[in-house]
């Protein structure tokens, strides 16, 4: 008799979070829902009373952060360093200038024009000071932080940690997920990689256990202003929406935070540099789908293909 699976879905962080617990109980899933709600109240740049909004208003004064906000901001800055600024949590001015100034659901698909873009957006994360002993964040004047590129992955990791060791579960936040344990049949979790050109189908099926999977792409969150097309993946090197050659990048990695960041970084770097970058990380592998529909895989991905 197959084990019982509790499936629970709820809205959070601008999308849908899906929890699957093998042999679990609904109260466990409800506990994770509360965790996501708390993280959203802390990390959202769209909620004026979120802790992140308070931090962004605080510059240039030091800000006493909660342990949660300090941890995710320091992770963000750390990944900016590792990716040499390709992943940059301070491009919020550009995001707003190109039109992403409210939750995506509320964005008009077409706008008359965009604001003038900031003249400088590269490398401002380097000026953020972090006091690890006292959890104080010091933003320079004019610098704000957006956690949209890391928040879902980070929250997925915290949710899995909250389930405790030995969990057999999936936590999937709008496509950024962690598959813990061996799955309901004991042979790993099967995860579809959505076809960006036919969202009813998959381009690959992955078989993973104790691994995270995340996908980045410009297929969903995009809009037009005037004659130009924009999307939410900002390339700090150009100061605008990435004009790369990829439709999506899916990354398998040991943590959802890492998968989330590497997928965005690989997307911005394009092929083949993005795949080459992912290969630097132990246990990480990527599938990239080009704008022409070709499927490219990094070294190591064969291990995860079903």
């Amino acid at each position: 008799m197959p084990p019982e699976i509790v499936v629970h879905e709820f809205a959070a962080m601008g999308g849908t979070v899906e929890i699957q617990l093998v042999g679990g109980a609904l109260p466990d899933a409800m506990r994770l829902q509360a965790l996501f709600a708390a993280h959203e109240r802390t990390m959202s740049r769209f909620l004026p009373d979120s802790e992140l909004s308070a931090l962004n208003r605080s510059a240039p004064r030091p800000f006493q952060a909660s342990p949660l906000l300090f941890d995710v901001v320091s992770e963000s800055v750390g990944w900016a360093c590792i990716t040499e600024g390709v992943f940059d949590p301070t491009v919020i001015d550009v995001l707003e200038a190109v039109g992403y100034d409210r939750p995506f659901d509320l964005l008009a698909p077409s706008r008359a024009a965009v604001l003038e873009r900031p003249k400088t957006c590269t490398g401002r994360w380097r000026a953020i000071a972090l006091d690890y002993d006292h959890e104080i964040i010091d933003l320079p004047a004019g610098v704000r932080i957006d956690l949209g590129g890391i928040g879902k992955g980070y929250s997925v990791d915290r949710a899995i940690a909250a389930l405790g060791p030995g969990a057999n579960a999936i936590v999937n936040a709008s496509g950024d997920l962690y598959a813990a344990g061996d799955g309901p049949e004991g042979e790993g979790w099967y995860v579809g990689v959505q076809d960006p050109f036919d969202t009813t189908g998959d381009v690959a099926i992955l078989n993973v256990n104790d691994r995270a999977v995340a996908t980045s792409g410009s297929i969903k969150r995009h809009w037009t202003a005037g004659d130009a097309r924009y999307h939410h993946l900002i390339d700090p090197r150009t100061g605008g929406s990435s004009a790369g050659d990829l439709a999506t990048v899916t990354v398998v990695a040991p943590t959802a935070t890492q998968a989330d960041v590497l997928a965005k970084t690989a997307f911005l770097l394009g092929a083949p540099d993005g795949l080459r970058f992912v290969e630097r990380f132990v246990g990480a592998a990527a599938i990239a789908i080009t704008a022409q529909g070709d499927v490219l895989t990094s070294r190591g991905m064969a291990e995860y293909l079903a």
């Binding site: 699957q20 099967y190 969150r221 999506t248 795949l275 070709d294 490219l296 079903a306």
Partner: protein, 78 residues
């Protein structure tokens, strides 16, 4: 040669054996055995093409094996 008392039964058994042999021959020739493993078609790959390297990533059109297990969940760009 003496057929003895059960001649009719022995003749019937011989005829039945011959008929069984003919039937077996017909079955074998109408349903040849499957080809050797080396001759069999390769199973469908989950993603076509070879596993690429970063230096020269494989280029392949999308395709998912029809025999791939049904996924429990999906990853997608959000």
């Amino acid at each position: 040669m003496t057929l003895g008392k059960n001649a009719a039964a022995k003749i019937a058994a011989l005829v039945a054996s011959a008929a069984a042999l003919v039937g077996t021959w017909a079955l074998v020739h109408q349903n040849p055995p499957p080809p050797a493993a080396a001759d069999a078609p390769a199973p469908t790959q989950t993603v076509t093409g070879q596993n690429g390297t970063a230096a020269s990533p494989s280029r392949a059109r999308q395709r998912v094996s029809l025999t791939a297990p049904r996924p429990r969940t999906r990853t997608r760009a959000s």
